[in-house]
């Protein structure tokens, strides 16, 4: 599994105004960003692959699905791409709503380029962190899925009772011999690719989530 880098991140630009779309994508490309443009929220949703890292630069006021609605749609779909709003209306209530829903920032057109660039860069970092975290969680779950039913039972007990991890205690509780517990524990650590029971407990958040 390759983890994504900032170089692979893309700026997804959605704006219905042609001149803005063209000029903004040109400027960002000049600054070395990868830019993908869309004239409407619908066309963005059509071609967007959530596995692509990056951030969304989104015009607030558009016909059809507007910026805010696209944001809400993504939240519902559990797609956590960072969103930077740009708006020609620049209303305070709208910006508050957008920020509440998790937007990175809300920029009024025309905006200073350095503000946008800063936003994009912080968004990229945030996106990559998110992805990394999600990735680790996903692999831990995958490995956990390879455990047998008895091994899962033992692992669950360890996660649920982190202070009672001796073979005796586990064996008594699960009505098996301490030796068998030792055997299971070794298999669990091996299959999960970890070195100690403490690491297993650290992973517990990803497993139960």
């Amino acid at each position: 599994m390759n983890s994504a880098t900032e170089e692979q991140s893309t700026v997804f630009l959605v704006d219905d105004d042609d001149s803005v779309r063209v000029s903004l994508s040109r400027a960002l490309k000049k600054r070395g960003f990868q830019v993908s443009t869309f004239p409407s929220a619908e066309s963005f949703l059509e071609s967007y692959d959530p596995r692509q890292p990056g951030c969304l630069v989104l015009d607030y006021g558009m016909p059809g699905l507007n910026g805010l609605e696209l944001q809400q749609h993504l939240v519902r779909e559990r797609i956590s791409i960072p969103i930077i709003f740009i708006s020609g209306h620049g209303g305070i209530p709208e910006s508050v709503q957008a920020m509440k829903a998790g937007a990175v920032d809300f920029l009024e057109k025309p905006f200073r380029q350095h503000l946008l660039v800063e936003c994009i860069e912080s968004s990229f970092r945030k996106d990559l962190e998110n992805r990394k975290y999600r990735e680790s969680t996903r692999s831990a779950r995958e490995r956990y899925g390879q455990l047998t039913a008895r091994e899962k039972e033992v692992a669950q007990f360890i996660i649920a009772n982190p202070s009672h991890t001796s073979s005796k205690e586990i064996g008594r509780e699960l009505d098996i011999s301490p030796r068998t517990v030792d055997h299971h524990r070794a298999r669990i650590l091996e299959k999960m690719g970890i070195g100690s029971v403490a690491e297993l407990i650290d992973l517990s958040a990803s497993l139960t989530d």
Binding site: A27, I86, G88, H89, G90
Partner: protein
């Protein structure tokens, strides 16, 4: 057709009493007439009885006298052979009965003694014919009532022979008392009848005949005195239909002396009598045995008539009486006429009273109507006390006043909304233009700024960056941002003017805007239909949203009118969906062509339009936290939708 209350009242009051009077008058009219006719018949019958009885009592003494004389002679109380005795006896008998005009006795030998009333030298006259040999003598003696002789003379010329007279012949033939048919008396030349009774010898053979004369004139006089009524007449007819007696007796008198022909009823001078009885006589003689009464018309007058037998078979006479009804009911008729006039007068007076009464009853109603008119026109306050009136009207008044108050309030609200809207339209147009300009300008400014950024980046990529160019570009970027700052200020100004948001009832607002648009809709023959649901209160600027509604509906009406659609309907629907209320404005017009871009500022299809309406609407709706769009997917109608969030 509606009548005024006053008219109805007056007509019913006057009409009712008129009806009542008419019924009373006509009832009494009919009953009194019946009663009077009954009375007339009774009078007539009484008169008939009276006449019959009187006639009988008139005739009876004559017969009795004849029979008495016969018995006196037969028994020898008076010697029939002694002329002096016979004369004296006849004289006494004549004096005893004033109806008798004359008495006589004739015998088989031709002797004849006749005592009669006279107009001559003495009041009585005796004629004595003696056939005793040697010669026949005829002697006339006039006497006083005391039987004293006034004058006497002989008449040698006299040829009278009693035995040849009809009365003698009949009595001799019948050998009993008889009545002769009426005839002219030889001596007096007056019409009359004779009662004759035979006088027999003790051996039964006929000795002679006694006759008693009655002049019919006397009956006529009696009939004249009967006095049934003013125009009535009673007469006596014989079996041949001849008029024997009539009140004016000269009617019956013969035209030629000596030959008595009574006038037949058919030729009678009295036309009414002719009409009444001629038919009866023509149908084979008059043989009346019982009394009968009938009615007939003559010259448009109704008469009642009565026929009645007088004596019986031996004197087949009939009393005939007629009388016009009017004689009996004329008084009543006059009275009736008077009653009708009185009733008419009473009607008139009571009608006037009815009118006055109606006026009195109506006065409070009229006062109420005037006041109501004043109140409804706003010329008098509703609180002004009600003039004295009826309880029903008081209740109606209360309802009416409430109604007026509600109406006023509604009108005032609509007026206020209208004022707000027009004010808002003016103010908001500026704001909207500013907003529109701000938005439209922000796009190219953004593009400029971005292109400058690209240009600067490009310039910096050169091996020897042109610092002057970079400086110019940086300055240019600053200018673009200064423009942006100005726009931001403009936006701030517009936002400040945007008004307050508050919760309100959207359905109520729809109805108010409907009132605003009703004139326009009706003028264009367009029907506005509401299909609203129960929706929670929405939050927003009421006046701004009213303007959106007015704009959309007005557009819809214009679209329908321009396309001259067969169906002319604008439907407004509301429904709650998720966290907002959705409002649809649908029209039966042709819809918006696919190539037309809606909601673009300064783009319009309307001549003279600025192209701001829909974009302003969209801005307003968005400012209020909603969305406005045209539903291109709905093909049946042209549908604009907008949403407004409702209270959480």
């Amino acid at each position: 057709m509606k009548f005024s209350l006053g008219f109805v009242l007056a007509i019913s009051l006057a009409g009712l009493q008129f009806l009542a009077i008419t019924i009373v008058v006509s009832t009494s009219y009919l009953t009194s007439e019946t009663a009077m006719l009954e009375h007339a018949r009774r009078l007539l019958a009484d008169a008939g009885d009276n006449a019959s009885q009187h006639s009988r009592s008139f005739l009876k003494p004559a017969r009795e006298a004849a029979e008495l004389s016969s018995r006196v002679f037969e028994t020898g109380v008076v010697d029939a052979g002694n002329a002096a005795q016979v004369e004296k006896f006849l004289f006494q008998t004549l004096q005893a009965d004033p109806h008798i005009s004359g008495l006589y006795y004739g015998d088989e030998e031709g002797n004849f003694i006749y005592v009669m009333r006279s107009a001559g030298p003495g009041p009585f006259r005796t004629k004595i014919i003696q056939t005793a040999p040697p010669v026949r003598t005829t002697q006339f003696i006039w006497r006083t009532a005391d039987f004293a002789v006034v004058e006497q003379r002989f008449d040698p010329e006299d040829q009278f022979d009693a035995r040849e007279r009809p009365w003698y012949k009949s009595a001799k033939e019948e050998r009993q008392s008889i009545w002769t048919a009426p005839y002219i008396f030889f001596s007096s030349q007056q019409p009359g009848i004779t009662a004759a009774t035979p006088v027999s010898h003790p051996n039964g053979t006929l000795r002679g005949v006694i006759g008693v004369d009655i002049e019919i004139a006397a009956i006529s006089e009696f009939l004249a005195q009967l006095g049934i009524s003013e125009n009535s007449a009673a007469m006596i007819l014989n079996e041949n239909g001849d008029v024997i007696a009539y009140p004016t007796h000269d009617q019956t008198a013969p035209g030629v002396a000596g030959s008595l022909d009574f006038v037949s009823i058919g030729d009678f001078a009295d036309p009414v009598a002719r009409t009444a009885f001629a038919e009866l006589a023509a149908s084979g003689g008059i043989t009346v045995e019982t009394e009968s009464m009938s009615e007939f018309d003559y010259r448009k007058n109704t008469y009642v008539s009565l026929v009645k037998p007088v004596l019986g078979k031996d004197l087949p006479w009939t009393i005939a009486i007629y009388a016009p009804e009017n004689d009996f009911i004329e008084g009543i008729k006059d009275n009736r006429q008077r009653n009708i006039w009185i009733a008419a007068a009473v009607s008139l007076v009571t009608a006037c009273l009815g009118l006055v009464l109606a006026e009195l009853i109506l006065r409070p109603v009229r006062a109420f109507a005037v006041r109501t008119a004043l109140v409804s026109q706003g010329e008098a306050p509703a609180s002004q006390p009600l003039p004295g009136t009826y309880r029903e009207l008081e209740r109606a008044n209360k309802t009416l006043i409430d109604e007026i108050a509600q109406r006023r309030e509604a009108d005032a609200r609509i007026l206020e909304l209208n004022r707000d809207l027009s004010h808002f339209s003016r103010v908001d147009l500026m704001g909207q233009m500013a907003t529109g300009l701000a938005h439209e300008l922000s796009q190219p400014l953004t593009a400029i700024s971005q292109n400058i950024d690209a240009a600067i980046t490009t310039a910096k990529e050169q091996k020897e960056p042109d610092q002057e160019l970079i400086g110019i570009l940086t300055e240019l970027d600053e200018h673009a941002h200064r423009g942006g700052d100005i726009i931001r200020v403009l936006r701030g100004f517009v936002r400040k003017d945007a008004g307050q948001k508050a919760p309100f009832d959207l359905n109520a607002l729809l109805l108010q805007t409907n009132s605003l648009l009703q004139y326009e809709a009706t003028a264009n023959d367009v029907k506005i239909i509401f299909e609203t649901q129960d929706i929670p209160e929405v939050i927003g600027n009421r006046v701004q949203l009213a303007q959106v509604l007015v704009n959309l509906v007005r557009n819809a009406i214009e679209a329908i009118v321009d396309a001259d659609s067969p169906t002319k309907e604008v439907t407004i629907r509301t429904r709650a969906k998720d966290s907002h209320v959705e409002v649809w404005v649908e029209d039966s017009g042709p819809g918006v062509a696919p190539d037309i871009k809606l909601f673009r500022r300064f783009e319009t299809t309307k001549p003279g339009g600025m192209g701001l309406g829909l974009s302003i609407c969209r801005t307003i709706v968005e400012t209020n936290g909603g969305k406005l769009w045209y539903d291109r997917e709905n093909l049946e109608t042209s549908r604009f939708c907008f949403t407004i969030p409702f209270q959480a």
